[in-house]
Symmetry: C3
Subunit: 655 residues, 3 copies
């Protein structure tokens, strides 16, 4: 289904009805309201003004549009900040207060803000609990965006000390767990412990990890409390949240999503591609600057499907150029439609576009909407119409699930470990995971992202690109799973407290394959070296491990000095290096085939996704490309054909 | 005429007389004194010491040198800072106080400093009002240099709040004008408004623009008050100021210069070239590292002539290597002479060199002077002699005006708009304007820089490279002018308050040409694309607009996807993209010719300027180059010939 | 002899005995203990716990290992910081306090910390003064590391004011010495003087130099006091310190080492190469990423031998990958042995490895040890065994001196001058000095680094790459020395107070060669130009001087514009430019030969060092290389042959 983000408070009331009629005409079902509207809802302390919102809902409901309301907590009003200045967060890199004047100016450890947030949420929830047009809630907005998970405030420090006391019980046990004997960091009391910021040189990694865990839990605590308020007063409504890319929250995304009915993603393919690939050379960058990288948005879709209950929503989708990346290109014609279908292919049930009409003022005035500032229709309008009609014509089942036999394990705490202990500047956790994902996607393989606690019994192949902390529970789950497991380097090398595995890397994984990491090195990304696999040479070396190999382990790829680069037994394939994507593609194809996972020989820039009975072929290039899907199944094309048009897609149905 | 900046207080008194005699011998007329000398003039509060200055003036006057005095306010002494610590400005990027120990350590919003500055200015003005040798005053020094226009102090905040109240009257009208409803930024009272700094993420653009306007007005308020003090007590003296490049003041330069008798420029071609072209590759950079870019200093000359009453002065000119750029090359032999002539060609009446003798101590000890530390003469000496003699021999008329039929409109507030809303990192306001200017100069066209309020009735061609805010008054002036108008992209796209034009870009310009900007994109500078004009291909794309075109508008250049890149009607040419300089040169040549503006086919690195009866040809290359000036006029060479010598110039006179 | 850094407090007590037995088996003589252990030695104020250390010493002593104890002052415990918060230093770039949580969190100007440091040192010294196993002391650890020499604290400010008063006597004499008249910086009282930090723009260079001198003296004051405590109570023990690279201390290293029995160096060839060559292109960088640059570690060895009494020790040597560089490669097989021999070749008497066993926890858990976390032996173990055996087999005399006839003068105060007044971004003091050193080393020349006050009577050639401040005492010493002197550009250009030499550069050197520097320029490193020497062309130009040349001076190399690039008389060769290393190699070869210094034609990547009767040839390349040593002496190879194996060495003995 389709929806839109709408800010009636930005427009004269006499435009609302026409807007509603046009939304209906475009085929929208949902309208998201009230995000960022606290100062309008409560212009002074305790003085509420819901008239405008009541009216806006009424006008929209008259056109049978369903309303999703937002708690307005991403933007506390100035009077509230002035009353409780401790709401403002403190920058952990400079120690200065991060002031009022933009958004997300709140500290998750401010008890004043916690209380005020729940109060305004409750006021809204009570008011609209039984409104017939209101169907659900979005909590806050893009929680943790703008690096707000971490605050260097006194509030944070004291909450951290209490959290540490709860986690470790005694100061002796904290000293022991972290190894504070190093550099005389032993504590006598929890009240002595500072935040691990602004020190002379790098702070203790266990201290840093604890601070990240604490900060994440503060976000979850806040978010869960808000969900509870909404669910208590609005038991009939769904509660969701619009997530930014997983690596940016710096919080445990599985925990954040746990109490939600489902998760949403805010999808900005061009802005994200611009930021993520900013250091690429002209040719590599230019190629996707107006389409987005074929795997970048998809990867986030699969991430968010992973933290959602089953399928997910797109709560915001880019309908044209945005305003916040280094450069903000226009999508190529057809891309708004293509991105919508790509989201659907990966499990989206509803696509909401951001925003109905471009705002004429403030920070996002250069952010395109479906309608322009002069109320004319932007090019996105027609693409949304086309998408709407194709959804109907293909009879696409938006309730179907994505059924994947390949899982990748993701975990924020392991991301933290690699950020705290980078060891080589060329090791980028997000890129490492992305390269594995991209290799799988180039093979036409659908991927589930799962948590380390997930049930793995239904997978044939489980891929773990980067997971330093692997506990024994996971080892048991992996043992129990029928899947073959692929581990990238660093796997299992650390304990829960970010100390080295006492038995050396890959730590607990040694229970599954008898190997030991005898040394580790990191190299500059431009100073890599060849590895050999089945007679062909690939490039590797940003991270290299020297392995000692036990019985039953064979070496299937070698460095040029003959050391093992990839080793294997029946259960496990372990990569002792970070290679190029090409090698991952070849290796994972061999492993997938061996596990009975079907792979495809897709032309460059073609991607295939399957959902329910449907298969979708996407073409991110300027040339039409013919895809050979093999003769194994009987397929019927309901949109396009095996010859996929440029910047377009084809859809087939299994008969 | 010639002059010099002299700091007698840096040298033993017994050197002064010989210095004066040598100044006279060099042909100098003016000597600037007392800059930065507050601690010498008033070593303790209220204890004045003018003896040394009186003596210095007397020694110089004896050689018939004329004195320009400076108010010493760019360097408040330590005792004053200690008495009024609120004089120190606050860094807007860090929130830390910018301390004593260099220069310009004052906050334009400190009332204590305002009062003290006017006091010392008045003391000086009264003392020297009727001194026969004193002819004029320089206010302060390089006002606003070192990013001092903006301060994050409490003084600034409170003054800003008062300024806002004065500008907007009621808080409701401010909320409305800015659109504070966005992100719940609505205010109930002016006292709630913070400076738009140090927030969690980007602050409101209207808020930022207001802060820049306020800050600029604080500078102007301060400067105007100082001018008033000087004019009150010294009605016979001129009052001027030595400006840094216009884009660096972050203030309204037209306003700053309005009350002055004329404006001065501090000309450092090599230092400025080093900074402005710092990101260029070896070949592009090396070529001009010892000459300065042929158009960079000239552009500033024309800027300053634009804010001056008619002609202008050079108050400081580089006589050798300086000390403050990333790298500080030596000028090639002949360049000190060439730069002096180049300034004259663009309207300079007087050239003062900085400084008489290189200082042996402090921050600028590596900054060359006309004389060296050991009192020997540097190579600049001979070049100044040559310039002096050539001025006489050519009988150059230093009172003549530059008469241009082409104007470029410049405006600091539009520079602010593009800095506040960059939208693409590759959009650099200064570079955009410079590229248009350079294209015109390569055609031998003299350029007037004018304010948006200027009388445009005498121009044949008006070029507006980048002016997002175009109000209706300017539209009327443009309509009334006989000139053809060239607008670059972004023109007219914004309202006075930095919101989007409600009728879309180019906003009010739509009255002159019926086009609408339907979308805007920005691209990386290395990811541009071809545009086609008259069968030839050029490169463009850092900023691209998608145009809807009304009646009577023809498309004269297209993007490779056939969209309009440049459109035109009789009155207006509108560029919907940022192109390379080559395209601008070709297009502007066609437009100039069509408007009856004479253009020249100049060899590479040759520039032509005309002033009064004289034409000056400058050669920035190592090869002699022959220039064909056409047969339209009768010319007589008074210096050199059509064959312009390397790193030299030729001068002709119209007969 | 061999030794190791050991932290028994990081390991269960029941491992200690086995460790000691294995140390003995590896052939170690020394064990360094107690570094960073303050919180273990004094867990609460005044409550001491030496039991663990007594036991550890006893266990080690039982295996005849000799103990070096460290004062634990690099890591004050948290309870001490909480009691005296003024111990924490203040960041001079931001003004924020540098907090607890890592190491070196102390301010050299905190009197509280001074007193507490001497107290804990005295407690330890008294306790172990007569322990038979304890042979010596290491003060603190890597003093001044992590930019801790400079603090922006109030303590520092007041101590600086007192230091200034002591140095200058009266405020008038300070004003005169610095030239505070410039920019009205005149002071009336020492109490007005701020630290030269956080100002609006660059602060006064003389002020900066004074602050660096003061800060250096604060470090020396602290260090000398600690040495005095140790020497008073432990007259039989040696006292030493483990230095980081000289340029990183920002302190006078000769002064720091003066009261020590000998100096030590902490040798991390790969980490240091990664940082120092970080901006190099792929080919240049990759070549040495796993060997270290052939001259970088050697240069530090020679530096530390220079500040030591005769020979020196390596207190820490990298046995595998480290954790703190941008990238942390594994040493190539053989490099741990090669580095050990390289240190010996340059005068090391003892090599201690850091550390016995890799720590499983805290900041350095990715830093390799001789033993791994699981107590297995890393590859370093065998290389140390090999080195130990080769030392014995070759009967290498570790007490022999390095006898060099070539000296380079080094001086921290001259490093400061070039850092304070960079003048061109491409001027890097450390690189300038390194390039001269590398050129000499490529010629097989051993180099002594000496202080400006050294006795120069035994040298044939003295090289001064960069020494702006050259006083008359040094001029006399140079005159008295039989050596030919080579000066790089900038030499002698400044006075003691960082003002320009009044007679122009090279200042006092003009007594030795009649030349004057008439102007100076700096160029981008990629914009250099040719110089001609003996018909061949080389590249130069990052720093260029224009020379006026007096009688008896000949020009031996010229710029392409015919100006003098290198000039010479019998006593002096003066380079007026910074050239490439190739030119330095050719020129220095010619000069060395002329002075009777033997040079060698070594293949690329081969280095030769001589110590006592031994000559050592090192091969940093992957190919075996044959070296022709000439027929002048009778040599006998005691290890390897003239054909030096890849990544290996050969040793010969003069018979
Ligand atoms: Zn959003
Ligand atoms: Zn100046
Ligand atoms: Zn160390």
């Amino acid at each position: 289904m389709l929806g839109v983000c709408y800010y009636p408070e930005h427009w004269p009331q006499d435009m609302w009805q026409q807007d509603a009629i046009e939304m209906r005409a475009l085929g929208l079902t949902y309208v998201r309201l009230a995000e960022f509207s606290w100062s309008k809802l409560e212009p002074q302390e305790g003085t509420y003004n819901f008239d405008w919102l009541d009216k806006a809902i009424a006008v929209l409901a008259e056109q049978d549009l369903k309303i999703i309301l937002c708690t307005p907590t991403a933007t506390p009003p100035k009077w509230l900040i002035d009353k409780f200045p401790d709401i403002l967060p403190v920058d952990i890199n400079t120690g200065t207060t991060r002031g009022f004047g933009s958004r997300r100016h709140y500290d998750f450890s401010s008890e004043n803000y916690f209380r005020e947030s729940m109060r305004i949420s409750e006021v809204m929830a009570k008011r609209y609990a039984s409104h017939p047009a209101v169907v659900g809630w979005q909590t806050d907005n893009e929680i943790a965006c703008h690096d707000t998970t971490h605050s260097g405030s006194d509030n944070a420090k004291h909450a951290f000390q209490a959290w540490l006391e709860k986690r470790y019980g005694t100061i002796e046990s904290l000293n022991e767990a972290w190894g504070t004997i190093f550099w005389s960091m032993e504590y006598q009391d929890f009240s002595q412990i500072e935040l691990p910021i602004l020190a002379v040189t790098e702070t203790h990694p266990s201290h840093q990890l604890a601070y990240r865990r604490f900060s994440s839990e503060q976000v979850v605590r806040y978010h869960d409390a808000m969900i509870a308020v909404l669910k208590k007063h609005c038991p009939e409504h769904f509660v969701t949240h619009n997530f930014i890319p997983m690596t940016d929250t710096q919080a445990d995304n599985f925990a954040l999503a746990e109490k939600l009915n489902f998760a949403c993603y805010d999808n900005y393919p061009l802005g994200r591609t611009d930021l993520f690939f900013a250091d690429r050379d002209t040719d590599t960058f230019k190629r996707y600057m107006r389409t987005g990288h074929p795997d970048f948005a998809s990867c986030s879709f699969d991430h968010v499907r992973g933290i959602s209950k089953d399928n997910f929503w797109i709560m915001e989708q880019q309908p044209g150029p945005v305003n916040w990346a280094h450069h903000n290109p226009r999508p190529l014609p057809g891309m708004v439609r293509l991105w919508s279908w790509e989201a659907v292919a990966h499990g989206a049930e509803t696509i909401c576009y951001f925003r109905w009409r471009q705002a004429a003022f403030a920070q996002e005035q250069m952010h395109a909407g479906i309608k322009r500032v002069d109320n004319s229709k932007s090019v996105a309008w027609q693409e949304i119409e086309q998408f709407r009609d194709e959804l109907a014509e293909t009879e696409f089942d938006l309730t179907a699930s994505v059924n994947s036999s390949v899982a990748m394990i993701m975990s924020t705490s392991n991301q933290w470990v690699t950020e705290i202990e980078r060891q080589g500047d060329s090791f980028d956790h997000q890129l490492v995971e992305f390269e594995y994902y991209s290799a799988l996607r180039q093979l036409g393989i659908d991927v589930d992202f799962v948590s380390p606690n997930a049930d793995l019994s239904s997978y044939k192949l489980v891929v773990v690109p980067c997971m330093p902390i692997v506990d024994k529970v996971l080892i048991s789950a992996l043992e129990a799973s029928p899947a073959h497991i692929v581990f990238g380097p660093r796997s299992g090398a650390k304990t829960e407290e970010l100390t080295l595995a006492p038995e050396l890397g890959p730590g607990n994984i040694q229970r599954l394959i008898p190997i030991k990491v005898e040394s580790t090195e990191t190299l500059r990304a431009d100073c890599t070296m060849p590895i050999l696999y089945k007679g062909a040479s690939y490039s590797a070396g940003r991270w290299n491990e020297e392995l000692a190999i036990g019985e039953g382990v064979k070496t299937i790829a070698r460095f040029s000095n003959q050391q093992a680069a990839v080793v294997q037994n029946d259960k496990i394939t372990y990569l002792a290096t970070l290679s190029d994507v090409e090698f991952l593609r070849v290796l994972l194809n061999d492993l997938a085939v061996a596990c009975g996972v079907k792979t495809y020989l897709l032309p460059e820039d073609i991607r295939l996704s399957q959902r329910g009975q449907f298969g979708l072929l996407f073409n991110y290039s300027a040339q039409a490309k013919r895809v050979d899907l093999g003769a194994s199944e009987q397929l019927e094309f309901v949109l396009g054909s095996e010859e996929v048009a440029p910047y377009s897609l084809s859809i087939y149905k299994r008969v």
